[in-house]
C-alpha cells in the first residue's frame, strides 16, 4: 500500500474555511495574482496619490510606457469588483488566494501570504449579518468558545469599516484577526451594481494568521519555504 502524502497546512485551512462558508451559502472563486492598478486600487476607492495607498506596500510590475500600470495584488479585494462586474448582485462568495506585500519579512510578516476575502451582497445584508456570519465562522473554525467583537476602523472600500477581534477562552484574550465592513457604495457602483438597491458586507482574513492561532505556529515564514517537515509537524486525522 502506498503511504499517503500530506497536504500543505494552508490547503487544509482553506478547505475547512470553504466548508464552513459553503454551509452558509458562499461560493468559492479565484482571481488573478497579477492585477491592474484599476482593480487593485482605483475601483476599490483607493485613488492614486492618496495617503490611504500607504496602507499597502505594493510590488509594481515593470510596464512599457503607455501600458496600464500593474501590481501583484496586495489583497483579494479586487475580486469584489471583478465578480460583481461579471455576475452582479445578489451574491455570496469567498475568494482564497495568494497576495503580495513589499515589506521586510519577520516572524509575522511575509512578502507573500494567503488571504481569504468574503463578500455578501443583497438588498438587506447588514452589519449585524457580518457579525453573525463571522461569529459562526470563528466558532466553527476555532471552537465554540470563540466570540467576536467589532471595533471601528477605516478601509477605503468599506463604510462603516471595522476590525474584528476574536476571544480565545483558553488564552483568556482577544486577538485581532481581520478587517471588514459594509461595502462602500462607490465600490458597488464601480462594479456596476445599483447601490440604491443593494448593500453588503466584505471581510478579508489572513489564512496563515488563522492557522498560526489555531495550531500554535510561531513563524509565518515556515509556510512557503517548500520544507516538507512543516507538513509533517502536525498529527493529522481525516474527518
Amino acid at each position: 500500500m502506498t503511504q499517503e502524502g500530506r497536504l500543505h497546512p494552508i490547503t487544509i485551512a482553506i478547505r475547512e474555511m470553504a466548508d464552513i462558508f459553503g454551509r452558509m451559502g458562499f461560493g468559492v472563486v479565484q482571481g488573478p495574482e497579477q492585477e491592474t492598478e484599476h482593480y487593485n486600487f482605483d475601483a476599490l476607492n483607493i485613488p492614486a496619490d492618496h495617503p490611504s495607498r500607504d496602507m499597502w506596500d505594493t510590488f509594481w510590475v515593470k510596464t512599457k510606457p503607455g501600458e496600464e500600470r500593474k501590481v501583484l495584488r496586495t489583497h483579494t479585494s479586487p475580486m469584489q469588483i471583478r465578480w460583481l462586474e461579471a455576475r452582479g448582485a445578489p451574491t455570496r462568495i469567498i475568494v482564497p488566494g495568494k497576495v503580495f506585500r513589499n515589506e521586510a519579512t519577520d516572524a509575522t510578516h511575509e512578502a507573500q501570504f494567503y488571504q481569504l476575502e468574503g463578500l455578501a451582497v443583497d438588498t438587506n445584508v447588514t452589519l449585524a449579518h457580518l457579525k453573525g456570519t463571522l461569529e459562526r465562522f470563528c466558532k466553527e473554525y476555532f471552537g465554540s468558545d470563540a466570540k467576536v467583537r467589532l471595533r471601528p476602523s477605516y478601509f477605503p472600500f468599506t463604510e462603516p469599516s471595522v476590525e474584528v477581534d476574536v476571544w480565545f477562552a483558553a488564552q483568556g484574550k482577544w486577538l485581532e484577526v481581520m478587517g471588514a465592513g459594509m461595502v462602500h457604495p462607490k465600490v458597488l457602483e464601480n462594479a456596476g451594481v445599483d447601490a440604491k438597491k443593494y448593500q453588503g458586507f466584505a471581510f478579508g482574513l489572513g489564512v496563515e494568521r488563522f492557522a498560526m492561532i489555531k495550531y500554535g505556529i510561531p513563524d509565518v515564514r515556515l509556510f512557503h519555504s517548500g520544507d516538507i517537515r512543516f507538513n509533517y509537524a502536525f498529527d493529522k486525522k481525516k474527518v
Binding site: T2, Q3, E4, G5, L7, H8, P9, T11, R15, A18, D19, G22, M24, G25, F26, V28, V29, P32, E33, Q34, H50, P51, S52, M55, F59, W60, V61, K62, L72, R92, I93, P96, A104, A111, V125, T126, A128, H129, K131, E135, V148, L150, R151, P152, Y154, E159, P160, S161, E163, Q199, H224, G226, I228, N231, Y232, F234, D235, K236, K237, K238
Partner: protein
C-alpha cells in the same frame, strides 16, 4: 499621534478618567491605541480622520462624544477675528491648485528665549523637543488644533519699498535648498517652495520643512508667521520624492480644510504675544478660492438601521449627533447633518451611519446569521483543484508551497524586495528541484525507511501569455485527473494537532539490529529503545525483520536531533552504546 492626558484635560472641567479607561473609550469607539502610559496615549488616528484628529483638540472632541462630556470650549467654534492687512508683506501664489491658502503675519520686536516650563513640558510629554518660544509656539498650536505653522526670521529677508514679498512657486530645475536641519536638497522640478520674491531664494519646502535661510534664532526680532494650506497630492509627491516626512507633511497629505489656517493663525499670534511680546503689524491672507460649504448629508432612521442591522430609536441616533456636536435637523425620521468644516470625512449617508454605529458601540450590534439560500453555492472550480490534490496525496505525494519570485521571468518587478529574484516564476520546476533536494535530506525525520519523498505543487506561474495555474510533481503521477470543475466533489477534510516544532540543526541517523526470542513484543521493544535513547531521539522506525532458527532479527532506524544545537557523532555514539548495553541487559543479542 501622541497625546498628553494633561493637555487633554485642558478641554474638560471635570477630571478625566485614567489612561486605561480613556484607552478603552478610544479603542472601541474611535481609534486603536498603540501605546498607553499614565500620562500619554499614542493614538493610531485612522486615515479618514487624519484631517481633524491629528491634534489634541481632535482627540478631545472624540472623547467628548464617547464619554458624553461637553468640551469646556472648542477652539474651532470660536470667532477667528479680523486683522489689518500689512503694507509690509505681499504674498503671491503661482498655482492656486497647489497652494489653497497662504496667510502671513508680520510680528515685530519679539524676544526669542527659552519656553516657559509649562510649554516645554507639554511638548516633551508628546515626544517633541523644545527649541525656543517662537518655534515651540508654532508646534504647540499644530499639536493642539492640527494646523501646521512656520515662523521665518523676517530680519533675514530683504524688503523693497518697505515690504517683504513671499512667493509660493514650483521649484526650477535643479534648484537647491538647505533645510533647518542643515540637509541640502536638490529639488525635483515642480516641488512647491516658499520663496522670497525679491531675490528668488527658497526659504521653505511648502508643507514639509522650513529653510535654513530664514531660521529663527536668539537674535531674531521680527517674524513672518505662515499659516497655509497646500494641496495633499502635491505635498505627498514632494515628500516621497525627497524622502522627507514631517509632522506638517503628514497633516497636509490628509487634506485639512483651508479654513483651519485662520484658527491656527489666531492661536499662534496670541501665544507668541504671550511668550515673546512684540507687536502684530498685520496679516496678509491669499485665499484664492474658498471651498464650498460642507454639503448637508442625510440619512433616515430606516436607512441607519438597515445598514447596521439593529433597531436603534430616533432618540438614540439623535443623541449621537448631539454628543458629536454636529449641527442637524430632523424632518420626519430623516436626519440631515451639516458637517463642520474640519469633518472632511462626512460626505455620504454611510459616513453618518458609521458615526452612529461607533459612538453607540458595535457591541450593541446583534450577531445575526444570513438567511439561508436555496440551492448549493458554486464551488466547482475550487473543488476541481482540490480533487487533483487529493488524488496526488493518495498516491503518496506531499504538497509544497513555494515563493512566486524567481531569478528570471517574463514578468519583472519594478521594485523587488530581493534583488536576486526580481521576476515572477514562469514554471514550478526550479522551486521543485530545490524542495526535492531538501526533502531527500530531511526524509529520515519525516518518512519511514524505504519511503522516498514525492512532492507536488499547484501554483500560479506567469508567462508571456499571462498567468495560469500549473501542476508540478517530482515524478510522473499516474492517472492524474484533469484540472476541471468538479461541483460535486467533496475535498478531504483533516483535523490537525498542535504544531510540533522541528529543529533547524542537522539530525543524525543510526541503525541497530538484534536478535530477540520469538514472540517478543515489537511495540514494547521500540518503547524500550525510546526510553533508553532519551529526548534527543526524534524518530524510530522498524525497517527489517526476519526469523532464523527460532530467533527473530529486528532492525530499527533511529533519528537524533536537538532543538538547540548541532549534535556530534561521538555524543550520538554514546547514546547508541547505552541503547546497545540496555538491549543486551534485556537479553537480546545485538548484531
Amino acid at each position: 499621534m501622541k497625546v498628553s492626558l494633561k493637555w487633554l484635560q485642558e478641554y474638560f472641567d471635570a477630571p478625566l478618567p485614567d489612561a486605561t479607561t480613556l484607552s478603552d473609550a478610544l479603542t472601541f469607539h474611535a481609534f486603536e491605541i498603540e501605546e498607553a502610559t499614565r500620562t500619554m496615549l499614542d493614538v493610531k488616528v485612522l486615515p479618514n480622520r487624519s484631517a481633524d484628529c491629528l491634534c489634541h483638540r481632535g482627540i478631545a472632541s472624540e472623547l467628548s462624544a464617547i464619554l458624553d462630556r461637553p468640551l469646556k470650549s472648542d477652539p474651532l467654534r470660536e470667532d477667528v477675528g479680523t486683522y489689518d492687512v500689512p503694507t509690509s508683506l505681499t504674498v503671491e501664489i503661482e498655482d492656486e491648485k497647489k497652494c489653497l491658502r497662504y496667510m502671513g503675519a508680520v510680528i515685530r520686536d519679539v524676544k526669542v528665549r527659552p519656553s516657559p516650563p509649562w510649554l516645554r513640558e507639554a511638548l516633551e510629554a508628546v515626544g517633541q523637543r523644545s527649541i525656543n518660544n517662537i518655534v515651540d509656539a508654532t508646534n504647540y498650536v499644530m499639536l493642539n488644533i492640527g494646523q501646521p505653522l512656520h515662523a521665518f526670521d523676517a530680519g533675514k529677508l530683504p524688503q523693497k519699498d518697505g515690504a517683504y514679498a513671499i512667493m509660493v512657486r514650483g521649484a526650477r530645475e535643479d534648484e537647491q535648498m538647505t533645510t533647518l536641519s542643515n540637509e541640502e536638497f536638490t529639488m525635483p522640478e515642480g516641488v512647491l517652495l516658499i520663496t522670497d520674491a525679491h531675490t528668488g531664494a527658497g526659504i521653505g519646502i511648502a508643507g514639509i520643512k522650513g529653510g535654513k535661510a530664514a531660521e529663527v534664532t536668539v537674535a531674531t526680532t521680527d517674524l513672518i508667521i505662515e499659516s497655509a494650506n497646500f494641496d495633499g497630492t502635491s505635498v505627498r509627491r514632494a515628500t516621497q520624492a525627497l524622502k522627507l516626512f514631517t509632522d506638517a507633511s503628514v497633516r497636509f497629505q490628509n487634506r485639512p480644510s483651508p479654513e483651519l489656517c485662520a484658527y491656527g493663525m489666531r492661536d499662534v499670534i496670541a501665544l507668541i504675544k504671550e511668550l515673546a511680546g512684540g507687536e502684530l503689524v498685520g496679516v496678509a491672507d491669499a485665499y484664492p478660492t474658498h471651498p464650498k460649504e460642507s454639503a448637508p448629508v442625510s440619512a433616515s432612521l430606516a436607512k441607519v438601521n438597515s445598514v447596521l442591522g439593529p433597531s436603534f430609536s430616533k432618540e438614540e441616533v439623535e443623541d449621537v449627533l448631539k454628543r458629536l456636536s454636529l449641527s442637524y435637523m430632523i424632518v420626519n425620521d430623516t436626519f440631515t447633518v451639516t458637517p463642520p468644516f474640519e469633518r472632511t470625512d462626512i460626505s455620504i449617508p454611510e459616513d453618518l451611519i458609521e458615526e452612529v454605529g461607533r459612538i453607540i458601540g458595535y457591541d450593541k450590534i446583534p450577531a445575526t446569521e444570513l438567511p439561508p439560500l436555496s440551492g448549493t453555492p458554486d464551488q466547482a472550480r475550487y473543488r476541481g483543484i482540490e480533487k487533483v490534490k487529493d488524488h496526488l496525496v493518495e498516491q503518496g505525494f506531499t504538497e509544497i508551497s513555494t515563493q512566486s519570485f524567481a531569478k528570471k521571468g517574463d514578468v519583472v518587478l519594478a521594485n523587488p524586495l530581493d534583488k536576486a529574484k526580481p521576476a515572477l516564476r514562469t514554471n514550478l520546476d526550479e522551486n521543485m528541484k530545490e524542495a526535492m533536494v531538501r526533502a531527500k535530506y530531511v526524509a529520515p525525520v519525516v518518512l519511514p525507511p524505504g519511503v522516498k519523498p514525492k512532492l507536488f505543487e499547484i501554483g500560479t506561474v506567469f508567462t508571456k501569455d499571462g498567468e495560469h495555474m500549473e501542476i508540478k510533481t517530482s515524478e510522473p503521477a499516474p492517472d492524474l485527473p484533469e484540472l476541471k470543475d468538479a461541483p460535486d466533489y467533496s475535498p478531504a477534510q483533516y483535523e490537525l494537532g498542535a504544531y510540533k516544532p522541528f529543529s533547524v540543526y542537522p539530525f543524525i541517523v543510526r541503525d541497530i539490529a538484534f536478535w530477540v526470542p520469538a514472540g517478543t513484543d515489537v511495540g514494547r521493544t521500540m518503547s524500550y529503545i525510546r526510553e533508553q535513547a532519551g529526548e534527543l531521539l526524534v524518530r524510530v522506525d522498524q525497517f527489517d525483520r526476519f526469523e532464523k532458527g527460532g530467533k527473530v532479527s529486528l532492525a530499527f532506524r533511529l533519528v537524533f536531533e536537538s532543538m538547540e544545537r548541532t549534535l556530534t557523532d561521538s555524543e550520538v555514539n554514546g547514546i547508541m552504546e547505552r541503547v546497545s548495553e540496555a538491549l543486551k541487559k534485556a537479553g537480546f543479542e545485538v548484531r
